[in-house]
Symmetry: C2
Subunit: 131 residues, 2 copies
DNA sequence: CAATTGATGTAATAACATTACATTCACATT
DNA sequence: AATGTGAATGTAATGTTATTACATCAATTG
């Protein structure tokens, strides 16, 4: 998936997220796109659904917000697991992968015959700059 | 914190969660407590805040719902980290601790001078019984 | 040119959570 | 017993996040 093949709405939403320094809620994305003709939440949610599907965007479950993927070309999407630190002061989000954690969680699930779907790992706290 | 010292509202909310076989939203708790005099969401949210503080209840961020702690006497609350599997079919929640994962996340945070607050680990999927 | 499929526009509503303010209760101090 | 204090409660209103329903438009294809 390249950013080329996005539709107009998808491209606009992705662009807003890419240039934001911190996670944005669907409604704040909507506000930023009023001048581009956005009128309703659904326009944002539909675009976000696709961007999530393409692996260009992540949803942060613990704060109901969205961020552009930090490295969409590395198959971030293909990895089952992406973890995040989220600074509660400045909103800075850092995205990382950890195979040991991934294996450990896989092992736990396998031991219990639990079929793993989407996994969320989010650390909220204070980044170095805000400490 | 014993279940003795809970206030009436806290006790009612805890009781509902304890007897539910799956996570409940704040509003479904409210519905179950109408007959006990509950009228407004805030009555539920206030009780939940305290129960979370006491470590008797966990919030599942990825599904906006709450569960009673599976082992409140083991200092679950004291541990920094509790992880969950959540069956999307039947709602079964399993709670577990993993020191290796905890250490790994701590290490990652420390390396980046990120001061860790609340950490969320939730695996959504399908439990053995629902497979 | 249908027919199909994916995307869009719009309104309405549902689901989740907080703010504000008045009141009551538990309990310690006088 | 009266008073003062902080925690808990009752209630209404509002704010925030997400989905349902339905009509329309655009690209693709047989
Ligand atoms: Zn990513
Ligand atoms: Zn920060
Ligand atoms: Zn627990
Ligand atoms: Zn199940």
């Amino acid at each position: 998936m390249t950013t080329q093949s996005l539709t107009r709405n998808q491209g606009l939403v992705f662009d807003v997220l890419s240039h934001a320094g911190s996670p944005l809620s669907a409604y704040s994305i909507l506000d930023k796109l009023r001048d581009d003709g956005f009128r309703a939440p659904l326009q944002v949610y539909r675009a976000l659904d696709k961007l999530l599907e393409f692996g260009l965007v992540h949803r942060l479950e613990s704060i109901n917000a969205f961020v552009a993927c930090a490295h969409p070309d590395e198959g971030c999407h293909a990895h089952g697991l992406t973890a995040f630190t989220i600074c509660e002061t400045c909103g800075q989000v850092t995205e990382f992968h950890d195979h040991m954690i991934e294996d450990r969680l896989k092992g736990f699930a396998k031991d219990r015959n639990f079929k793993t779907g989407k996994t969320t790992i989010e650390i909220r706290g204070t980044c170095a700059g805000c400490a």
